[in-house]
């Protein structure tokens, strides 16, 4: 039995309520990412914000990008960040001070950025339709492997270079360490 377009008793459309819930989750978890004291919890809140953003992508009609968001951001980048957190946190690290000394200046500057962006968006008349369009995955595949094939290949080279560079940067260097000591 299919559920209707809107919630039966309230008359609110499902899409609207989903958008509000996902957007609220996204903003709250993003705020937790930048304000929580314990950095592991920041990483977990980051996963929540990535997940709600994947929901928003699905709501926008981009199932392929939503799936990629789950795979790459939640599955790879978040785990990488959590591993890096565990490698760089020591128990005696000062966790008392989370923010720099210019935290209020930073808060003011970012509030100005947010207000300016929101005002600009609301004051501009965009040449956009009032209806979301579904993005067909087959169209994306045709575009990606026909029109955008050069950027695609460049990105694959970039990823290879990034992996090699990361391994080079993060490996231990026992020989140089001993030279420093002597």
């Amino acid at each position: 039995m299919p559920i209707g377009d809107s919630i039966p008793l309230l008359g609110i459309r499902w899409d609207d309520i989903l958008f509000v819930v996902l957007a609220a989750t996204l903003l709250v978890s993003a705020l937790l990412v930048v304000t929580l004291r314990d950095i592991i919890r920041c990483g977990l809140a980051l996963i929540v914000s990535f997940a709600s953003l994947a929901g928003i992508y699905a709501l926008l009609g981009d199932p392929l990008v939503a799936a990629t968001q789950v795979l790459v951001y939640i599955g790879a980048i978040s785990i990488l960040i959590l591993f890096a957190i565990m490698m760089t946190q020591t128990k005696d690290a000062p966790t008392r001070l989370v923010f720099q000394t210019q935290v209020w200046i930073a808060a003011g500057a970012s509030a100005v950025i947010g207000v300016v962006i929101a005002a600009t968006v609301l004051a501009t008349t965009w040449p956009a339709g009032g209806q979301r369009l579904w993005t067909a995955t087959a169209d994306v595949a045709h575009l990606l492997f026909r029109d955008y094939v050069l950027p695609f290949e460049v990105v694959s080279v970039l990823l290879t270079a990034a992996v090699v560079g990361a391994v080079y940067l993060a490996r231990r260097e026992p020989s140089r360490r001993e030279e420093d000591r002597s």
């Binding site: 950095i39 990008v65 369009l133």
Partner: protein, 103 residues
């Protein structure tokens, strides 16, 4: 609400502002990287919102968003490797203690 471009753009603007605040205010290098990821995600949301509401951009926006995600993955990999390498030298993840060029 879910059918207007403005709400998505305002949402991504707020997300970008939160990321900016985290980048400017946090002391931990990994927190700063997480804030960068938030900002990249805000930009991606903008791209996809335009793609969903402007018909000529429909497929292109998804392709560009996928490329942005791939480049962001590369950036996160190298950035975290740099943080780990610096941590190994200086024994602290706090960026305001990386001040050896001041002396």
């Amino acid at each position: 609400m879910s059918n207007s471009l403005d709400s998505y753009l305002v949402l991504s603007g707020l997300l970008f502002a939160i990321g900016t605040f985290g980048f400017l205010a946090r002391r931990n290098a990994i927190s700063m990287l997480m804030s960068i990821e938030l900002m990249i995600n805000a930009v991606n949301l903008t791209i996809l919102a335009f793609g969903a509401f402007v018909p000529p951009l429909n497929g292109h926006a998804a392709v560009i968003a996928l490329l942005v995600i791939a480049v962001a993955a590369a950036e996160a990999t190298v950035g975290l490797a740099i943080v780990v390498a610096i941590y190994r030298n200086r024994k602290t993840p706090l960026v305001d203690e990386y001040d050896s060029m001041k002396d």
